[in-house]
Symmetry: C2
Subunit: 508 residues, 2 copies
């Protein structure tokens, strides 16, 4: 096995079952956001054989005795190493994303925290959903003990907007490992250096803990062909993805068309409507305008939870919020560039589609080197008539619509499901809030009172998901403790004495 | 609304949102198993408009305030009415299935028991998976409360082999209702009269409890077109199916190809291998032969858990079991007819495919009016080479194979996943059992020690499922309390005071 030092810079390699491997396919380099200048080494797209080898090794790892404690130790070791490797990781991630050291430092801490939470959970993985029903009186009532087992090999597709927390060492990888599933992760081609470094760190932890090297592989590809082959690979048992609706749906379709279909847990972003009550607008309009701007412009709007639609009361207080938001955007200096070419193009195309809708007004921040944010003002009838206004545009834009209170329920009903829905209201408007919260709960994964959707707490009570098109798996979350559940399936043991049970099955 | 009396015989109607409706499409009648004589009234296939109306009414019902207690009351009322209606239901079911009153009486009791268990669970539905994480110290740690909400409208496809327990009032319907989801159930065309009667009973319970009539509709169709339209209907949110691999996969594919894909919970049967240890064969060969015969011939092998492959030790004791099973089948009188034409044809075709494999010996019970059972003896190499021997043949047949102990792991690895895997062993063979149980647990939903796979206890600890091709949803069970989980999805409330929470959200 190659020595995968974490002290040297990335070399442009994939890491397959503990070994550095150069992909012989299409070569590519990361580019500095904004300038487009190449940065870091040249990476090579892996070959089909290399992909096979990664999956084969992962299957071999999965065939080992299931030992939740070993997995827990691995997750803890990864957390420790990531925490200690800030000096190696952060400059790489900043060069490839321009997200800045402050944001990336926070994101690294979150990533480390995710692994620590999962390390604790992994030790209890077979205990979760553990149910015992002793033998009953009737012959038809044998003793049953239900526990869970790992689903198998998981293909993880890293997202670009959180190079660490949703990257190759992100929430999906930590949850799959915690569930006892080896991971073959496809790096995002915009951040290959960060992925290689993080991959080295995880791989060295696998080696030190003494687990099979097939537990973690990191593969690079420019394009989609190998990613598609990974989803179709007969040795893969589940797919986790964070990214666009188009990308997630493509993987979902491939997985559903397999001879043996497998689950695809795709988290695909959404519109994330925010509703402001008349009382809230009147009582704290300026604070709300500040909060809305802070949320939809955070990270240049490159969050799946970015609020893309603000429903304002059709009154003077609502108009004041609208004016304030228009002012904030038109007076804003051009800010950070968007993450990479593809997002810049997607943002441009999405904003064009919105701008083409008759009757909308688009207010943009001035031209310059960085990202140009936008606020779109649309009448409510136009929102209801034109689907373009109700679809996510990934990037720094939000749509403002004045809505009569009586029309609010119909407007919410017209929206596609989202990851989140947010309500701002005053204490004396609880009835307003209750009714709309009830409505939102039927179509979103998280309902927020008096806050903003960006920022997803990593918690056992979190649900970062929602009905399609927010995700392809409405029963599951990609953030928080329950993210593990995606990667384990139940198995019941009938009439087993303790002596005959496999040693990984919790007794009693 | 039509008065849906349960005192009269079936009239050949579908029941759509509380009203008796004649389908204008292809007409059909149930047929007496064996003789093929028509029985009961003529049923008409529903129209596309009638199907739309059923789904529209179900959506209206789903839009009502979510009240788990009302649903619980409904489930209890259905249980009471079914229990009291044995005199109406059992003769109808026996005429359409020839399963006999003893079996059907037991099945009705099980069906009633399922509704009672679900009635208790429904009252606690929003409490299940209820997790609270209070506000933390950091700004990024808002209070979270996670609960679950109904998935929406569920399409249920009734199975033929359990006309009651997996029929239109079967485990899927009871679980969907308990989860707060209105049901549009498609009756099995072999048992339309039973479905109409059971539908009347459920519908009258909906009316008496005062719920929206859209909660339950029962539609009839000869063929598959309307069933396909139901799965593709934009108003349907999930599908539950019990039946063949071909049928389940077809529905899965339709659901995956929708603009908005929806979950399909298809339970599709399987091979259900049984492994006999050398010690068990030596100690109680005759009892094992009796047990195996009892299990694979039960209900003429028309169970998704029928043991279709018996792996015997390659020794004298194993040979004695084989001889005993061959004797039992060749000396057996022709028994009950199979349930309907389609199953008879499928059994014939499946047995032909197995018989065509070179080197197998097929032993059949004598020709006569009823079903002809079969035992197939195959060498282990033939089993490994020919997929036909490793596939489920629905009906009274099982395959016997002598296996060297050293070869057992490889043989188990060569099998597709199943609902169940069974081990028979002696107390001093715990190591043998542990190793094979570990292996089976990786590819089946239920591992059984010293019993037989037919008979599925309805229990909170049950898991009636397994990886594909046993089911399309490996994380879920179709029997037992956890069957409800298929029909609810999580939702998190962030920073909500009790006053603003919808009233159906459990506090604290």
């Amino acid at each position: 096995m190659t020595d995968l030092s974490t002290d040297t810079a990335p070399t442009g390699c994939s890491i397959i079952a503990g070994a550095e491997v150069r992909g012989p396919g299409a070569a590519f380099q990361a580019r500095v956001p904004g300038s487009g200048e190449p940065t870091g080494p040249t990476f090579g797209t892996v070959s089909s054989d290399q992909l096979d080898e990664a999956v084969r090794a992962a299957r071999e790892a999965a065939a080992d005795v299931i030992d939740p404690l070993a997995v827990s130790t691995l997750l803890g070791a990864i957390a420790d190493r990531l925490e200690q490797a800030g000096e190696q990781i952060l400059p790489l991630a900043d060069a490839e994303t321009a997200l800045g050291t402050t944001r990336l430092t926070g994101e690294l801490a979150r990533t480390v925290g995710q692994f620590r939470m999962m390390a604790r959970a992994a030790g209890e993985a077979t205990r979760r959903d553990h149910v015992i029903d002793p033998e009953g009186d009737a012959l038809t009532e044998p003793a049953l003990l239900r526990t869970t087992v790992p689903l198998g090999v998981v293909a993880v597709f890293a997202a670009s907007n959180f190079p660490l927390a949703f990257g190759v060492a992100g929430t999906d990888t930590s949850a799959a490992l915690a569930g006892g599933c080896p991971v073959v992760a496809k790096a995002h081609p915009a951040q290959p250096g960060t992925a290689e470094m993080v991959g080295r760190i995880m791989t060295s932890a696998v080696a030190d803990v003494g687990l099979h090297p097939g537990w973690i592989s990191i593969v690079h590809e420019q394009g989609h062909e190998l990613g598609a082959a990974l989803v179709q690979h007969q040795g893969v048992d589940a797919v986790a993805f964070t990214g666009s609706l188009r990308g997630g749906r493509a993987l979902f379709d491939l997985a559903a068309q397999r001879p043996r279909p497998i689950p695809v847990y795709a988290e695909m972003g959404s519109l994330n409507p925010v509703v402001i009550s008349p009382g809230a607008a009147a009582a704290r309009g300026q604070a709300l305008a500040d909060g809305i701007a802070g949320s939809f412009l955070l990270g240049e709007g490159q969050f799946c939870t970015k609020p893309g639609l603000i429903l304002l009361p059709a009154d003077d207080a609502g108009a004041a919020i609208r004016r304030s938001l228009i002012g904030k955007v038109t007076e804003r200096s051009p800010a950070h560039p968007l993450l990479y070419d593809g997002i810049t193009r997607g943002f441009g195309a999405g904003l064009d589609a919105v701008s083409d809708v008759p009757g909308v007004a688009v207010h943009r921040s001035p031209a310059g080197d960085g990202s140009r944010a936008a606020v779109v003002v649309a009448p409510v009838d136009t929102l209801l008539e034109h689907r373009a206004l109700r679809e996510e545009v990934f990037g720094p834009v939000t749509v403002l619509v004045d809505v009569d209170q009586a029309q609010l329920p119909a407007v919410l009903d017209a929206l596609d499901p989202s990851l989140t829905g947010t309500l701002h209201f005053e204490p004396d408007e609880a009835t307003w809030a209750t009714g709309l919260a009830d409505r939102l709960a039927r179509k979103v994964g998280r309902v927020i009172a008096g806050g903003f959707p960006t920022g997803v707490r990593v918690s056992p009570a979190q649900h970062h998901g929602g009905p399609y098109p927010a995700t392809t798996a409405p029963l599951h979350t990609s953030v928080g403790l329950a993210a593990i559940d995606r990667f384990r399936r139940p198995v019941a043991f009938q009439s087993f004495d303790d002596a005959a049970l496999p040693n990984w099955v919790p007794r009693g």
